[in-house]
């Protein structure tokens, strides 16, 4: 199937194609979904290597469930976020608390002019502050404000009610605001 045609196919349909042996479907699903999982895992774990391992494991679970996938019952992306979130939670519970100094910057592969450097500093400050949140608050804030999921979608990913999502994001944002308040001026938000 040509690239243009396959790019218009839904995740559900691609998964069915994959289950039927279509290798191109696997590549397209990886291009669509793996970056989201990698971003989530990097933000949750603060460790690039671990985030890559989680991404690979989550995608492997997707390949394995493809043959039994029932199109229309769930969103592939939401299901994958849920798997990745659970994998991240498992790893967070096994390892020591995150050392702020060790939190990596999000790699973007671009040369960084001055504005980008400032943006990079802000992103790093945000990542540092996220790392200090309890894991459920961190997960909810990342999914809501960085990945752009709706509250019902987050509720499905986290297996909780929408009100609980709202509560988690609200508490998470309050904690973030408190953590970042001292750095606003140095990061160019002094008058904001």
């Amino acid at each position: 199937m040509p690239y243009d045609a396959i790019s218009a196919v839904s995740d559900d349909a691609l998964l069915v194609m994959f289950a039927n042996g279509d290798g191109e479907a696997a590549r397209m699903l990886t291009l669509r979904l793996a970056p989201r999982v990698l971003r989530l895992a990097t933000r949750m774990l603060g460790d690039a290597a671990e985030a890559e391992d989680v991404t690979q494991e989550a995608m492997l679970r997707l390949w394995r469930i493809a043959a039994d996938w029932r199109p229309g019952e769930a969103q592939v992306g939401t299901w994958l976020y849920r798997v990745a979130s659970n994998l991240c939670t498992d790893r967070l519970r096994r390892k020591r608390p995150v050392d702020i100094a060790s939190v990596p910057e999000m790699p973007d592969g671009r040369a960084a002019p001055e504005d980008d450097l400032l943006d990079a500093d802000r992103a790093r400050a945000l990542q540092d502050a996220l790392a200090q949140l309890p894991e459920r608050q961190r997960q909810a804030v990342i999914l809501r404000h960085l990945e752009g999921l709706s509250n019902p979608e987050i509720a499905e990913v986290m297996d909780i009610g929408v009100e609980a999502v709202e509560s988690l994001t609200a508490r998470g944002k309050r904690a973030l605001a408190a953590a970042l308040s001292g750095r606003r001026e140095e990061l160019g938000y002094g008058h904001g």
Binding site: G23, R27, T30, A34, W63, A66, R122, A123, L146, L176
Partner: protein, 137 residues
């Protein structure tokens, strides 16, 4: 909805979130992409092999044949063989009785029926004609 909510930005976090979104990678590293696709190929190969493997046909409960049921009813193959042997022996004796049988029969008959046994036996019709049965009831 996110933008509407973020536009309020009451806590001043939206600028940090925007920076975080801008710094996020849009693709995965090539090495990770290769690992993920290798997994996909492996799962597809395993699935194809499983599908190609001949499936064992489920054992269907067949009704046993006539001889098998007869054998089981009579007590197995041994009992059936014994019955068959006895039947063949009976047929053989009927068609070609040994010479000793006739004097033995006479002796037994005379013992039981007395001196007129021969007369009685001569008049005994073991397989009467159907006409006789019809006329005599």
């Amino acid at each position: 909805m996110v933008m509407a909510e973020n536009s309020k930005d009451v806590d001043g976090l939206e600028a940090f979130f925007a920076a975080g979104r801008a710094q996020a990678p849009a693709t995965v590293p090539d090495a990770l992409m290769a690992r993920i696709l290798a997994d996909a190929t492996g799962v597809q190969a395993a699935t194809t092999q499983a599908a190609a493997r001949p499936v064992a046909r489920p054992a269907t409960a067949r009704r046993p044949g006539l001889w098998r049921r007869l054998s089981e009813t009579l007590g197995g193959r041994g009992a059936l063989a014994g019955l068959l042997s006895a039947t063949l022996a009976g047929l053989w004796l009927g068609f070609s009785p040994p010479d000793q049988i006739a004097p033995l029969t006479r002796t037994v008959s005379q013992t039981v029926l007395g001196d007129n046994a021969a007369t009685m036996l001569d008049g005994l019709d073991l397989i009467p004609a159907i006409d006789t049965v019809l006329t005599q009831g």
